[in-house]
Symmetry: C2
Subunit: 315 residues, 2 copies
């Protein structure tokens, strides 16, 4: 299958503009004057780092259902603000999970995105609190107190994000991951773990964008859900591939770490060539899902480009 | 000031019935089958323990504004369910904060409510995850997906709880606490720390109940806020007093811990007699606030009884 990009869509320009909007909102929303350097640690964890795939998925999905995110007018439109707030919220959840994951009692990582991890820089206790406060802040972002977004949309987004983050989602997946080190998992078990650990938040990102102007039709919602599920799994398969074929400098984190830690991976399970084939197949599935949404190819251009990024990425 | 309890109000019976409702909802909402023993650790942290002051404040405030919490009809009334869900949500936030507080990098406590702490029983990594998942679950409780509560109330409650939990509230207070060990604080600084660390969640409990049937008049909301602020501070002053005058068996946790850890306390700041006087003064303030609410003494009976419990408690 050949991706049919709209000839007028410029992913680079689009993502730069959207990421600037997200960065500005995040910066505005994390009070550097928060007590006792907590704000500093939170900013260190959440600002200027990473690929920001999740917020881009939120915004691309919002645009797919017709939300106008033009920077000049975004603050006048409840649906655009709801999408932007949700983009920040998923990034905050992602950021908190990395802070806690890196702690000595979990992965004990000292380097993240080329910088010392939060607990190395601010101490373990502050890292624990910063992660906790980042999670709370995600829900603050979804519920602005100034009447700028619709209350029903706020409630819907909180319902989605809390479930994707908690025991039915990310935290549950991490618990399975913890328990499965050194165990030979089947492909079904591996899929289940990743569906929760990374898939739930990626899926939620797309859904948060899709509901930012209210509930779309079930045809659209279900198609976007299918897109996100294929993309989420592809993301993890590619992660496992990169852990094997890339070096630490390109990855920005320690390469070969999963294999060294005896963690179950797709490459370990099916071999490199098969894993690469699976990634391509999931990419094709994500595009088919979009084609089935009934949305125009112009509307879904950013979502298609993001799927391509996920499988083509080098880190 | 002599408290004017309604002659027909039986606090013991009221609190037992309300706590049974909370316990049932919590039990129902924490899936013991959550992946890899995460549900077990969450239940261990959140079920059958503690005084449950926060959920009782939510429910007492809800009843003060006219919400009917009779067990037989609660499931048919959106406002009663919103109050009950909020009661569970604050308890989950409180429970997660205890799990994380007890971890080795924070207070390194091995005993809580007479049982081994979560990280002692399940390991540090699982304790970290369980705390994270309990926080997310609080927001799941506030946003039921079955249409049983009003979406605007859901959004309002999430807005209140997320702010009370995060850097502007509990987590911010904990950061100040961490930074202030061994430092001589002024009474203003000590009040500020406790206003965030414990006061914010106690205040939020009352406010969550107060909005469970929609926003009450500002006269009522402001009066309940004043009540809760006085009660929150009284709670901390009494905590400091008990740390000095009680023994570990009565407290259910290590007595004399704050003094040993060189933590700033009201007793250290002003002496025992003055601290006891301050507690009584704050109790009187909480009752005056209720009297100024315009609500009937019958409606506020449970709130008055809870204020009395806070200053009279032995643990």
């Amino acid at each position: 299958m050949t991706p049919q990009f709209s000839s007028t869509f410029n992913f680079q320009a689009w993502s730069e503009e959207r990421l600037a909007q997200v960065a500005q909102s995040l910066k505005h929303g994390i009070d550097v004057h928060a007590p006792a350097h907590l704000g500093e640690a939170m900013r260190y964890a959440a600002l200027d780092g990473g690929k920001r795939l999740r917020p881009l998925l939120v915004l691309a999905a919002a645009e797919a259902v017709g939300v106008d995110l033009e920077a000049a007018t975004v603050s006048d439109q409840p649906s655009a603000l709801a999408a932007l707030n949700a983009a920040c919220a998923v990034e905050l959840i992602h950021a908190y999970s990395l802070v806690h994951d890196d702690m000595p009692c979990m992965d004990n990582d000292v380097l993240r995105r080329g910088k010392p991890t939060v607990h190395v820089k601010y101490g373990e206790a502050q890292a624990l609190l910063a992660g906790d406060a980042l999670q709370a802040l995600a829900f603050e972002f979804l519920t602005p107190q100034d009447g700028s977004t619709d209350l029903a949309v706020q409630a819907t987004q909180v319902g989605l994000l809390s479930r994707a983050s908690g025991y039915q989602g990310m935290a549950g997946g991490q618990a399975i991951d913890l328990a499965s080190v050194g165990l030979p998992l089947t492909e079904i078990q591996l899929r289940q773990m990743h569906r929760l650990k990374t898939g739930a938040l990626l899926l939620c990102s797309v859904q948060l964008g899709a509901v930012s102007a209210g509930r779309p039709s079930s045809m659209v919602f279900d198609a976007l859900t299918n897109y996100a599920e294929a993309l989420g799994l592809a993301f993890q398969v590619v992660d496992d591939i990169l852990d094997v074929i890339s070096d630490s400098a390109t990855l920005g984190k320690t390469a070969g770490k999963d294999a060294a830690a005896d963690k179950p991976t797709y490459v370990a399970l099916m071999g490199l060539a098969q894993a690469q084939q699976l990634a391509q197949q999931l990419y094709a599935e994500s595009l088919s899902a979009l084609a089935a949404s009934g949305l125009s190819t112009t509307a879904t251009a950013a979502l298609r480009a993001l799927a391509s990024q996920v499988v083509e990425r080098k880190n």
